[in-house]
């Protein structure tokens, strides 16, 4: 294997690993705390990508607001003092016809995903919490929710593929004769930052500690005065925000379409089981390991064989370590 190939595999592995880590950490968090698997997690990735696109792209919100901007300018001409105030607003709206950019797009995506995650919890999960067989029921309700979101997005935005603007433009980075796109570099660098923020939130904030407390012993969590009923939706919101970040990154790398995230969800499940259910460090390490396995098997065999190699690895790990890499460890 040439040096170039190795660099390419490492870069590719880091990119896939980053995306899986963002996605799987959310799944793992929800599993660890609420003891349920969220099958709409992939759809949240899609929601993140679409909402970032809607805010940032010229074909999204900016386009929809053009008539409003123009009518504000028109009406401001004959409405005196108030018009003087409104005119800049109208002019600003018209001037933004190129889109609001990712500076607004990314926070908007985070906001949307958090909100969708919360609504999803209230509608699809909360009615079943504490009931017998809830985990199975929630699999069905979240699959239904995912299907609803995918089709809803298709109706609203149409089936045409979309893509996010590139944040960094310029020639790709040259590492030992191998070209790595700047967007890829961004994903590789920003994911650890996001995961570190998650770590500090869980380790040092009051609410983050409460999430871990509920995951480790919900009975005792009640007895120290934690509002356990509030921690569940909070966990969904945090997990959805992570999915949204993953969506923004995917949307910058590949095309945005209503069914995006489904393939990643499958791999994220593999990662969560591989890393050890409910263990966040295990999940993150697992994500990068799976990323590397995927990229190297895609290089050595072919992209179509990558899932085969992945699942074979998973089966082997489960035979020798049934609880995954770090099952039963820190959550």
């Amino acid at each position: 294997m040439s040096l170039e190939a190795i660099v390419a595999i490492i870069a590719g592995g880091l990119v896939s690993g980053s995306l899986y880590a963002l996605m799987a950490s959310g799944l793992s968090l929800v599993w660890g705390t609420v003891r349920m698997f969220n099958f709409a997690h992939g759809a949240l990735v899609m929601v993140g990508a679409y909402s970032a696109w809607y805010m940032s792209n010229r074909g999204g919100l900016a386009k929809a607001l053009q008539p409003l901007g123009k009518s504000i300018i028109e009406s401001s001409e004959n409405s005196g003092a108030l018009g003087g105030l409104l005119l800049p607003l109208g002019e600003w709206l018209v001037s933004m016809r190129g889109g609001f950019g990712l500076v607004l797009g990314v926070p908007f995506a985070i906001l949307c995903c958090g909100l969708v995650g919360y609504v999803m919890y209230v509608l699809l999960v909360k009615p079943f919490v504490g009931k017998p067989g809830a985990d199975l029921v929630v699999i069905i309700t979240t699959i239904a929710g995912a299907s609803f979101m995918q089709n809803g997005v298709q109706v609203i935005f149409g089936p045409r593929y979309k893509q996010l603007d590139r944040i960094l433009t310029g020639p790709p980075l040259q590492v030992l004769e191998t070209a790595i796109g700047l967007q890829e570099v961004l994903v590789i660098v920003l994911t650890p930052v996001a995961l570190l923020l998650l770590h500090f939130f869980l380790k040092h904030s009051k609410l983050g500690m409460a999430i871990r407390a509920v995951a480790q012993n919900d009975d005792f969590a009640h007895l120290v005065g934690i509002n356990v009923g509030q921690i569940y939706p909070l966990t969904f919101v945090v997990s959805s925000i992570l999915a949204g970040l993953c969506g923004v990154m995917l949307g910058g790398l590949f095309f945005i379409l209503p069914t995006m995230g489904a393939q990643e969800l499958l791999f994220a499940f593999v990662v969560v089981v591989f890393g050890g259910l409910g263990s966040l460090p295990g999940t993150i390490i697992g994500a990068y390991v799976i990323g590397f396995i995927r990229e190297s098997s895609a290089y050595i065999f072919s992209l179509y064989w990558a899932p085969v190699v992945l699942f074979a690895t998973l089966i082997l790990v489960l035979i020798f370590r049934p609880r995954g890499l770090m099952g039963g460890e820190e959550s």
């Binding site: 500690m209 012993n217 120290v224």
Partner: protein, 237 residues
């Protein structure tokens, strides 16, 4: 009267474990509950602290009805229940466990002095500050459980079987610490199988059998140990 339980009935599903039980605790008093296993002591405590629904009866704390209130609201009022056996956050450090003990807002201002109180009572916890709860010994875990309870600044502290499964020497250490907490003026309900331990701490005892109070001793200084053993085991013939 600080705390009162009147005709309480509760249990799991259709089965009543606690039946028509009444007891009371005065301000500053230390009351012991004892009785055979499986007769509803723990269920009673879990009902009081809001983990199990009350089917009938009434729980009053500081003059207010707290029957079927959310557990967190009961904790916020200062009724702290230290549950039986190793109920901790196992994969968190001693420090994190204690920090979570001070989760309710009213303890915020006193957090550092509460830490000091717990450490002076259990110096071993200070030595083990960064260690995970699951790696502690049984005695240390029990100390940590009580420490977590104290971080919540109890107006009424309920200890469920603090001495269960501990070596005699550690039991003694723990009994001293509990007596120290009692002497500092914290009102307490202590549940234990070890009547001797209860006699060292409590002014009054209740014997709980078949989910209800079957005997009540007015003042432990008036009764001798043989009588209590008789209550427990029946008359030796």
């Amino acid at each position: 009267m600080l705390f009162q339980v009147e005709n309480l009935t509760s249990g799991y599903g259709k089965i009543d474990v606690v039946r028509d039980l009444s007891l009371h605790v005065d301000d500053g008093e230390h009351v012991g509950l004892f009785g055979p296993n499986g007769h509803g002591k723990t269920t009673l405590l879990r009902t009081i602290s809001g983990l199990i629904e009350t089917k009938a009866g009434k729980v009053t704390f500081q003059g207010e009805d707290i029957t079927n209130l959310d557990a967190r609201k009961i904790v916020a009022r200062g009724l702290i229940h230290v549950p039986q056996g190793n109920q901790l956050f196992p994969r968190m450090s001693v420090q994190e466990n204690l920090t979570l003990g001070a989760y309710v807002a009213r303890t915020d201002k006193h957090k550092s002095s509460n830490f000091e109180k717990v450490f002076s009572l259990f110096p071993r916890l200070k030595e083990r500050l960064t260690q995970r709860a699951q790696t502690l010994s049984g005695g240390e875990r029990q100390m940590l459980s009580i420490g977590v309870g104290l971080m919540g600044m109890p107006e009424l502290l309920i200890l469920d079987e603090p001495s269960v499964g501990l070596a005699p020497i550690i039991k003694e250490e723990l009994a001293r610490a509990i007596a120290e907490i009692a002497a500092s003026g914290v009102t307490m309900i202590v549940v234990d199988q070890d009547v001797e331990l209860l006699l060292g701490i409590c002014e009054r005892l209740y014997l709980i059998e078949k989910g209800t109070v079957s005997l009540e001793t007015a003042d432990v200084s008036q009764v001798d140990q043989a009588e209590i053993l008789e209550m427990y085991f029946g008359k030796v013939t």
